[in-house]
């Protein structure tokens, strides 16, 4: 039986097809992904190209309203950029930062969790205490602090130039304890099993046992929290950008778009804030719903707390 056949007959796919919420979320998520990453070719305008932006077009309402123009389907923002295109580019930035941050925190957290769980004793106590303390400060607080410090250290101008790598670093550093705790909990469960003992008896080095033998068996809880963590990272990025600690308005993410439109909501320009806001909620919501479904299907013993 080929792998494809095995996948087609699996319980995983069966339960996916039966769950309408999961299928709908997945389809919407795919659509959003395509929208975001095809932006350079499919977006009607290029918001990064200042030559095509005319300040006379600024603050136009969506096309179906009285003053709207058909050139700008969802209206324009305060600098005269087409809102739909800016949102597509912005979502790409948000998703990229979210994925980057999750990869970073997964690498950090999985490594620390593996070491803590496998080594045990003092190393374990120290690392887990560190994770507890950091978690008790709440990840958003830690992220805000780190980015505030970076911004004061580099100055606002330098910070804006390097915003993408800095945001990935900040969110990754703030959220690693989630992974570390999850991985450690399942390492503790696997450690006593016979196959680990067998590997140890034939004299394999600890590193090999940790990464080749134990790690693959801890992956299903990692997969489950990963979906939720992507949603969290996108939310954190939006929050930081909204506070002015994230992406600059010239290269906006969804968060900084919402921030830039917020001042104009009082004068009635609701579209600059509410459209990106809606897109952000939709993105986070479908990822969360997929995560919920994944948790029900894989049903790993998650660390409670």
């Amino acid at each position: 039986m080929t792998r494809w056949q095995a996948f087609k007959d699996s319980y995983f796919l069966y339960s996916f097809k039966r769950d309408k919420v999961a299928v709908t979320s997945f389809v919407i998520f795919l659509l959003l992904l395509v929208m975001a990453f095809s932006a350079p070719w499919t977006a009607p305008h290029n918001p990064y190209d200042t030559a095509t932006i005319d300040i006379m077009d600024s603050n136009l309402p969506p096309a179906w309203m009285d003053e709207g123009e058909t050139r700008f389907v969802l209206g324009t923002d305060i600098q005269g950029r087409d809102l739909l295109s800016t949102m597509m580019y912005g979502m790409r930035v948000s998703i990229l930062i979210g994925l980057g941050a999750v990869i970073l925190q997964a690498v950090l957290g999985i490594f620390i969790g593996l070491v803590a769980g496998y080594a045990g004793g003092r190393v374990d106590a120290f690392l887990m205490r560190l994770a507890d303390v950091q978690l008790s400060f709440s990840t958003l607080m830690v992220a805000i602090f780190i980015s505030a410090i970076f911004q004061t250290a580099f100055g606002a101008g330098r910070y804006e130039q390097m915003a993408v790598p800095i945001l990935i670093l900040v969110i990754g550093l703030a959220e690693w304890p989630q992974y570390a705790r999850t991985v450690r909990a399942s390492v503790l469960g696997e450690k006593g099993k016979e196959y680990v003992e067998a590997a140890r008896v034939i004299g394999l080095p600890s590193m090999r046992i940790m990464f080749r033998h134990i790690l693959p068996n801890t992956l299903s809880p990692v997969l489950v929290i990963s979906t939720v963590q992507v949603a969290n990272a996108v939310m954190s990025e939006a929050a930081l950008s909204f506070l002015g600690l994230g992406m600059p308005v010239t290269r906006p993410s969804l968060g900084s778009l919402i921030n830039s439109g917020f001042e104009y909501i009082f004068s009635g320009s609701w579209w600059i804030t509410l459209f990106p806001g809606f897109l952000l909620v939709l993105l986070v919501l479908v990822i969360n719903l997929l995560g919920d479904w994944l948790r029900d299907v894989l049903n790993p013993k998650l660390y409670k707390g």
Binding site: S138, F145, I149, T152, A231, A239, I265, F266, T273, G277
Partner: protein, 324 residues
């Protein structure tokens, strides 16, 4: 019990030391106390003299010890922008934040307990599904967006509620409160709803899952079999035993609430600690930033330690093995 107390408190002191070391290195590396004191229009030679006088050319550990001594006396340095001791600035802004957190907390408790219990007792009913579906949507809406939507709906379109500021304030013994005037209450409504919106779904889900676990246990079945009224079983037997984990998680979530006050206060121009912190970042007011880190860190450590100790009193097993 005594050993547990000592261990837990020494741990808290250690964490506080680490935070102070972090805060000190930030100030040491980024901040410039001379600029904080005299501004930028003083000659280089005079600055050097002042640096020597202030002991800024001393070795790192000497300066750190001095910083620690200052901390113990409540001296967190001078704010560059306000030209006042940083601690005074923070303490003046604290009542605004605490009132906001308090109101949001009340909203969370009042709504999450009955909704969570209902969803646990009747998990299959339509209303429960609605609650659970609503809670996942609630988790997915960022708090600043909720705040903006509330402002747009209630201030811009309907014009019922004020959109920014704290309204009319009254001084009560050094505590500037908005809770004694009708105007102050009107200004509190939107920010507290916005702040509670992020925690409410989490608590509903938490109470539901804990309560469902409790309802499966033997003693609940026994209580039913004994013929006790359903309401009594749910409230006295079921809910009481749900409370313990809820309180533990709840205590820790206070930290998260403080983080979200930064967002809420920014949207509503609410002049509390969070708003002040963000202004300090924009003005590169390092001393105030570090002072905020110290104060918030201190609050977190105290709350977490108290929750752990309470938990240890209620649940003796924890004292031996540590919180799981």
């Amino acid at each position: 019990m005594f050993a547990f107390l000592v261990r837990r408190i020494s741990q808290a002191v250690f964490v506080m030391l680490v935070i102070s070391l972090l805060g000190f290195s930030i100030r040491h590396q980024i901040g410039d106390p001379v600029r904080d004191l005299v501004g930028v229009s003083v000659s280089v030679a005079e600055r050097e003299a002042l640096r020597d006088e202030l002991g800024l050319n001393d070795p790192f550990h000497v300066q750190y010890l001095r910083f620690l001594k200052g901390l113990l006396k409540g001296d967190l340095g001078q704010s560059f922008f306000f030209k006042k001791p940083a601690l005074d600035v923070i303490l003046a802004k604290m009542p605004a934040t605490l009132e906001l957190v308090f109101c949001a907390g009340v909203i969370i408790v009042v709504f999450s307990v009955p909704l969570g219990m209902y969803a646990a007792i009747r998990p299959k009913s339509f209303f429960s599904r609605l609650i659970m579906g609503g809670s996942i949507v609630g988790v997915s809406i960022p708090v600043f967006l909720t705040a903006i939507l509330l402002i747009y709906l209630f201030s811009v379109i309907l014009g019922w509620l004020p959109s920014y500021g704290r309204g009319e304030l009254v001084m009560v013994g050094g505590w500037q409160t908005g809770m004694l005037t009708a105007d102050g209450w009107l200004h509190l409504i939107l920010p507290s709803i916005a702040l509670s919106s992020i925690m409410l779904p989490l608590f509903i889900r938490l109470i539901r899952s804990e309560m469902m676990e409790v309802l499966e246990t033997e003693y609940i079945r026994f209580a039913h079999a004994k013929g006790l009224s359903k309401v009594r079983v749910w409230l006295v037997h079921g809910f009481r035993n749900t409370l313990l984990p809820v309180i533990t998680v709840g205590g820790v979530q206070i930290g998260t609430m403080i983080a979200f006050t930064i967002l809420t206060e920014t949207v509503f121009q609410w002049h509390g600690m969070g708003f002040m912190f963000l202004e300090a970042v924009q003005r590169a007011d390092t001393s105030l930033l570090v002072a905020y880190l110290m104060v918030v860190g201190f609050l977190f450590v105290v709350v977490n330690t108290l929750v752990d100790i309470l938990y240890g009193i209620v649940n003796p097993k924890v004292r031996v093995s540590g919180r799981q």
